[in-house]
Subunit: 358 residues, 2 copies
């Protein structure tokens, strides 16, 4: 190295330097891991992958994914981010294998649909300080690398999760993988809020759907009711038809949140029953009117959709500032306002898109 030469950045008014995730290791080339790997390669990132069997390796290698022979090799290759993309039940064993070969420069992430439990497992393995949770809102009924495709993550939103010990620069690294590496959006929030919200819009409704199916099965007139059933019944019971073992696991993993929400739903249904019993028109009217903010949101969403001639980008754009001592609250408040981060423009500023109920 020749001394005395000017560093290329010297003399420039440099923007705050953003951490980036150039080299990304993915453990598990299934539907999500495979789709993410394909997408990152397309965006020019260096992707290293391991799978519990080498069946997808030939196809993956042809796409430019660098496949390795062992899980440990993912860590010893010192990627910027190592993403666990294997089923939730395998995570403890994965962490046990990775912990002895971990390098502090690596940020650990995952794609699991529950976040509090994964963090506990990460902490139990002694890797808590390296961890930033992630959960892409994507998937379908298929599985395996053959079913994976870059388009699965088109327009996807990710939840990125932190706790009081999370390293902000590691969160920026994971954000870089998501926003620039995967051309996706994110919201950042604490595990507790994530898991409570996932219970509200997915885990609890799965129980409700199954309860509806059970109500039918238990009726002596079940074949008559089935004969009379139409679109509303089909829609409301569809998720009860999916693998009950998987649904059961999902519900049990988020049991406390699901329990609270089921009790609240029972109270709501009983209140409507009481109002019908008392012929209380005002209470019945209020019940049906209460969903209006959601109806307005969905109506606006339909008007804004490309199919309706609206913009492809739905929602108002803007930016938020983040501060070293208050970024957790700032990110959570932003998510509560319905803002989704499209990119970090500096280490302390992010561009956003707002999609909120009014």
């Amino acid at each position: 190295m020749v001394t005395g030469m000017m560093h290329p950045m010297q003399g420039m008014h440099a923007s705050p330097i953003l951490t980036s995730a150039h080299k990304i290791a993915i453990a598990g080339l299934g539907l999500i891991g495979g789709s993410l790997a394909r997408r990152l390669v397309e965006q020019g990132r260096y992707v290293v992958a391991w799978n519990h069997n080498d069946r997808p390796y030939q196809a993956a290698t042809e796409l430019g994914i660098h496949c390795v022979e062992s899980l440990e090799a993912l860590a010893t290759g010192k990627p910027d981010v190592l993403v666990l993309a294997t089923p939730l039940r395998t995570i403890p064993d994965m962490l046990k294998a990775l912990a002895p070969v971990w390098h502090p420069s690596i940020t650990l992430s995952d794609v699991g649909s529950v976040k509090g439990m994964v963090r506990q497992q990460v902490e139990a393995a002694g890797l808590g300080r390296y961890y930033v949770g992630a959960h892409p809102m994507a998937g379908n009924e298929h599985s395996g690398f053959a079913a994976s495709e870059s388009a699965l993550l088109d327009d996807a939103l990710w939840a990125v999760t932190f706790d009081g010990t999370t390293d902000y620069s590691r969160l920026l690294t994971v954000a870089d993988m998501i926003c620039k590496g995967s051309d996706n959006r994110l919201i950042a929030l604490d595990d507790t809020t994530h898991d409570a919200c996932a219970a509200l819009i997915s885990h609890m409704p799965h129980v409700v759907s199954t309860a509806l199916s059970n109500q039918l099965v238990d009726s002596p007139d079940r074949n008559i009711a089935l004969a009379l059933s139409a679109g509303s019944w089909r829609d409301m019971t569809r998720v009860s038809l999916t693998d009950p073992g998987r649904t059961r696991a999902m519900v049990v993993e988020d049991a406390t949140n699901v329990e609270i929400l089921l009790r609240q739903m029972a109270v709501r249904l009983t209140a409507v029953a009481d109002a019908l019993h008392a012929d209380d028109q005002t209470a019945v009217d209020s019940f049906f009117a209460a969903a209006d903010p959601f109806r307005r949101f969905k109506a606006q969403e339909r008007r804004d959709s490309p199919e309706s001639g609206g913009d492809t980008v739905v929602g108002a754009t803007g930016s938020i500032e983040l501060h070293d001592d208050s970024w957790r609250d700032e990110l959570l408040d932003s998510a509560r306002r319905g803002e989704q981060i499209t990119a970090f423009t500096t280490t302390h500023q992010a561009s956003i898109l707002t999609r909120a109920m009014s």
Copy 2:
């Protein structure tokens, strides 16, 4: 008439003569009335129609539907069946207008989605002895004659309803309109069973869907939950987005049944909450397994579907016998076994198709 001539049927071994519905009057050329009128004309029936305004008359006339200037003219034309196909709330006024000009040869029917309430109104108008209820399982989000089409009733199942006073020959007349006149299938049952089943597979689930949407709206994290929501949430809340005034009316019209079912659902949801709280794996497993008969039915339905290379006619074929003193129980039991009537082959025998949960 020349006496002494042999009647054409004399000397033949005549099949029992089936009552048929050659001339059918339809009050209301909306989505259902219009679709039924088109279909009956296509099958060669003589269709007379009236609408509260004459906007659809030109198009209807071009299709071969005979439009008349007044509701009363439908009755004075002495059709075999007069079908009320106007909104439920208008039925009392329609009956009041028709009662003074009614002729005993006319069978009264309707297409309403609740049956007990309509029968009460029919009885209040003094037309109970002429009435056989009907409810086609068909519809979409549109309305009006312009949206009506014969195909709306393709492969449709109708519920035909009776009570202890129903005239069996009138039931056969309505069955002829449905099976041969409209190329559809039917199940026949009492009003109480119909309305309880409709509450189970439609009215109560609409309340549950709205309660889910309200649960979201009431959450301080509603925008976060909405951002995380996917297909399961969209499916389960879709019906809560439809016109809340119409849903409210449907629920209130069937209030007693809906009330009972909502309380049963509240008990089911609370039981799951209790099982999760107690970490009672057996109870949680049982809850998810209980929907298996419905899952098996739907899996079989998919295997049998034309898309899967199955038969276009799903279900086993057969026939049932009906007797003068026990046809009500025989029809109800048949419906409970999952049998759907495809045609009356004689006055006391019907061909059936079975679609049942095992």
